[in-house]
Amino acid sequence: MLLLEGFSTALQPVYLLYALGGVFVGTAVGVLPGIGPAMTVALLMPITYALDPAAALIVFAGIYYGGMYGGSTTSILLNTPGESSSIVTALEGNKMAKAGRGAAALATAAIGSFIAGTIATVLLTFLAPVVADFAVGLGPVDYVALMVVAFLTVGALLGASVLRGLASLALGLFIGLIGIDDSTAQQRFTFDNPTLVDGVDMVLVAVGLFALGEALYVASKLRHGPVELIPVSKGKNAWLSKEDWKRSWKPWLRGTFIGFPIGTVPAGGADVSTFLSYAAERKLAKGANKAQFGKGAIEGVAGPEAANNAAAAGVLVPLLTLGIPTTATAAMMLTAFQRYQIQPGPLLFENQGALVWTLIASLYVGNLMLLVLNLPLVGLWVKILQIPRPYLYAGILVFAALGAFSVNFSPSDVGILLVVGILGYFMRRYGYPVAPMVVAMILGPMFEVQLRRSLQLSQNDPTALFSSPFALVVYVSMALIFAASWWLRRRQATLEAAPAKEEVSV
């Protein structure tokens, strides 16, 4: 019923227009090479500054899905490796495009994204209120456990180097400390500098790390010369054939049910789910289809794309019900929510039910629009991909500066942006993942509050942190996740080695 009310808001013509705009802009920016979903949300934050909360949420829902989808178009059509969550799509999608099946690859990605997104949003609709009800009963000890897991998975599990991930995490925690302590109102690490008293704004750090850092990094080693694009063939044969549908629908569904659960637990979001789905499809394929893997198997596009979108919806479960972002993109969404005084967490569904259900309703709407927009507009996305690189990166710089300036309308914020951007450059250069820093910066202050609260309740007895059964379950599952990931990492290494070899032989 509440969802219907949400729909009645989201379906108002003005809001439909906002949703359309959000999806369109989100996809257009997401298509740009080098721009992942987190950066899309960070860069596009300024466009919602003047909107009312409901409209802003609707635009963000569109940007979120659009940005996710845009990345897959890039990796299918561009002849170079792409961002991590769609890199698996590139394995087969790229080969399909080279074989003249680009349109089919894009279509199976778009339809798969739509189906997975819709099913996952339905699951979100039913699961989120249940989790929220349950989460109301969680104490500070339980939150500490959940956030420890989020920190460790984002910091230690996902990057190539555990130490560098944790270093990035610690730096994010440190920046989160700057400003006024939430519990005692004391200034910390402000060095009596008035601009630091309010803390460093999340938007500056995120845009600096993602947008400016990336632009500087690419600029330092820019690929010169014309952009290598794979042409999209037109005509009847290019579109999905009956055979393609038959080969796609199972991977779509499997991808959905692999992606959604992985998105909901703090175990890595999209990256892990796309890889798992790819591995599953490769394993399940039979005969001639199996031989196609590595040469453009449609299952290898359909499954991971569906998993990617389902995970994107799954990530919203812990974000909305617990207030815990488990990916960099979710951290950006949380930042956006906080700007509108929306505090995700167990009470969100009670306190701001109308807004949440509008958001969820607009996820359905956005998903549908994504499908309607994307297939006819492939030509436009191809044009966007061909933007000359000097203009593209100059434009990213201008947008990053605009985003930073419009936080407080202070030029000194653009200075902070530049410092963070240079930091982001060196982090990329030396292999430090930036996502842990962003997640840590936003989770750190929340973690400290809960940690201090739990210790205060137990008269500073640290064993109390393991006293609740829920926390114990969380810690044990964390140990299991780490064991499983160690095993997966070894499998991934062997799997990645295989296509690389084939590439050499071609």
Partner: protein
């Protein structure tokens, strides 16, 4: 922090020795050490009964020192970091420090232009400067694009979306450039 890092990596570029990487890891260590040194001066209100406002900073700074030192050790043992991949990246290319310095310079120029000259002028300078730094040809086209982009952004954000970007003395009189 950034100054230290940029000079260090500059020194590392010509040789193959990972000096830059070690110095960057030391940035983490030094932030941690500085934090440990100053965390003791955070005032604790007398009413505090829990672990207080100093405990978590100590943990975080300790973690920074440990991770930074750990990375230094790894690098010394020959395990260097894996530079990130990206679509437009030529991994084999040498780092173009000149282009980087130009870009950083134009962002600084942009910062100082926003208030006196107005946002559209500052944005146009940033765009054409960045495009020039990245070898956009011909230059007049880049400048033309930058002017159009700056005016469109000013119109959309300042005029339509109500984000109060200062139009600057040149465009002060044009009503649709501010919200």
């Amino acid at each position: 922090m950034s100054d230290l890092a940029s000079t260090s990596a500059g020194a590392a570029a010509p040789t193959k020795r990972p000096t830059g990487e070690i110095l960057f890891a030391l940035v983490f260590v030094s932030v941690g050490v500085a934090g440990l040194a100053t965390a003791g001066s955070i005032p604790i209100p007398p009413s505090e009964t829990g672990i207080g406002p100093r405990a978590f900073p100590y943990i975080v700074c300790g973690l920074l020192v440990l991770c930074g030192a750990g990375v230094v050790l790894q690098v010394l043992r020959g395990k260097v970091g894996q530079a990130e991949d990206s679509e437009d990246l030529d991994v084999t290319a040498k780092t173009d420090w000149v282009a980087l310095a130009k870009l950083v310079g134009f962002v600084v120029l942009h910062i100082f232009l926003i208030e006196p000259a107005g946002w559209p002028v500052a944005a146009a300078v940033l765009f054409s400067g960045a495009a020039w730094s990245l070898d956009a040809k011909p230059l007049w086209k880049a400048i033309g694009v930058s002017v159009i982009l700056a005016l469109v952004l000013q119109y959309v954000f300042g005029g339509l979306l109500g984000v109060s970007l200062p139009p600057g003395p040149l465009l002060e009189g044009v009503p649709f450039f501010h919200g």
